[in-house]
Symmetry: C2
Subunit: 288 residues, 2 copies
């Protein structure tokens, strides 16, 4: 490995969630040469926000994102408002952690609903309310399009084009990119419009780059993500594109996998570092 010509790596704590809590993950990641971390809110709650802040600071880690805000479409107005309050707490946490962004998994159809257009409208409405508050807190919001197989139950924002259009609608005048996108290879690798949309996007909107791989024949809708190199996604091709656009964040490994969750966590981290080296070199060269 020649790490000196590569950008650093961030790891999303979901990748080792069954093995390590947030504090231990921060220590171990840093010890093994990982440069960044992206914690989930349940893990922050578990150890307490102050301890989480101390752990990332003491270990010199960059927080590439907090997972997650969102879940905006709700069956009632009261539930919609209550969920906005929860998102406000997420903004506070992202602020305290000095995170690059708060990742928004925008939410699917309210229970019993078939109204995708309505759900998508609620997403825009919620972000319109939250964006000025996030900006006041110095927190960038990152809409993460999720794979279409999650459109019903997790996220009605399902393509990069749709996420970018949402940003441009809610925040047409946003030269600093307070609203942007989190691009996850797993969710977008298949998209025939991906290259064209990336060609047209304002680079200030690129807040996060999540990596893992798509197993050729995926066996489970949730927990069968593959380690980089074990699937068929052209991860380096996407990295090349983001590099050319001047993306200056750290690539962030996020793997939900029943297999990797039973592996020795240090082996998981070492494999993440090793298998991401090529694309981190690509991002490094692009940034030079």
């Amino acid at each position: 490995m020649s790490e000196d010509k590569a950008v650093g790596l961030s790891i999303n704590t979901a990748t080792t969630r069954l093995q390590w809590g947030l504090i231990e993950a921060a220590e171990q990641y840093a010890r093994m040469g990982v440069a960044g971390i992206a914690p989930w809110r349940d893990q922050i709650a578990e150890c307490g926000l102050d301890n989480a802040v101390r752990a990332v600071r003491d270990n010199g880690l960059r927080v590439t994102g907090v997972c997650r805000g969102g879940m905006f479409p709700q069956p009632t107005r009261a539930a919609f408002e209550a969920n906005l309050d929860d998102n406000r707490r997420a903004i506070d946490e992202a602020h305290a952690l000095e995170a690059d962004c708060l990742v928004l998994v925008c939410g699917g159809l309210p229970e019993g609903s078939r109204d995708l257009v309505g759900a998508r409208t609620m997403v825009g409405e919620a972000i319109t309310v939250l964006l000025p508050e996030a900006r006041a807190a110095g927190v960038r919001l990152a809409v993460e399009p999720l794979h279409p197989m999650y459109a019903a139950d997790r996220n009605c924002i399902n393509t990069l084009a749709q996420a970018v259009a949402l940003c441009d609608t809610v925040a047409p005048d946003d030269p600093e990119g307070w609203l942007g996108i989190a691009l996850d290879v797993y969710h977008v690798w298949w998209d025939p419009a991906l290259a064209d949309v990336l060609d047209a996007v304002d680079p200030v909107r690129l807040h996060a780059f999540h990596i893992c791989d798509w197993r050729r024949t995926t066996r489970d809708l949730l927990n069968d993500r593959a380690m980089m190199g074990d699937g068929v996604a052209d991860i380096e091709g996407i990295a090349r594109k983001l590099g050319a656009l001047g993306f200056n964040g750290l690539p962030e490994v996020e793997i939900f996998s029943d297999e990797w969750w039973t592996a020795a966590p240090r082996e998981v981290v070492a494999t993440c570092l090793d298998r991401s080296l090529g694309l981190r070199q690509i991002l490094s060269r692009s940034g030079a």
Copy 2:
């Protein structure tokens, strides 16, 4: 039920494939008031093409499609050519059955490949070769975009926009629509661009309308399709759109489901007829 104000229903034999072979399906469907059938090629092979032709003719069934041609991207030139020959046999079968179309499930990445662009190029190349032969045989080809979760292993054509663009590229001058699309609710219901693409499509390209439902939380990537009404797809909204475009085929139920495959097949058919009545009335009114 008031069938008199509704267009007829077709059933794809995959829906009852574990219960009935093609001959029995044709007899039973017709006896229960089903107007059309869409056989799979393995079931045609099982009973023999002549017997299949006789069964659909004797039972007065319209063949809304033959499943399936395609699988065009191949690892070698020889395999590509061999697969074209297989597609030629599929065209012959569709011709013999006087099918509305031959459905093309275009194929995923060749084993070991990450080159989606290359795979998509091979699809266009193959259809360019086959289209004049299909036309000479009086067989319309229907590109079926498959859900993005099948992009790697089954079909690299994953959105309606992409399928329509493929048609327009391969057959820009095609006023009779020898090349068109098969729209399956299961594969496209989530697509934020669906309505706009349907607004712009030449109706002559609409060859087939497959229906089933998307279970809110899908448990299996292949065999967890839901009966109409048991999921969250806005099937009637899509039917309204197709009706407005003058679609004059029969809606075709295609359900891969470990649950429905263990049900009494007459109950499956009765449920298909019942649960499709609303959208068949919509298509009837539109056609009036």
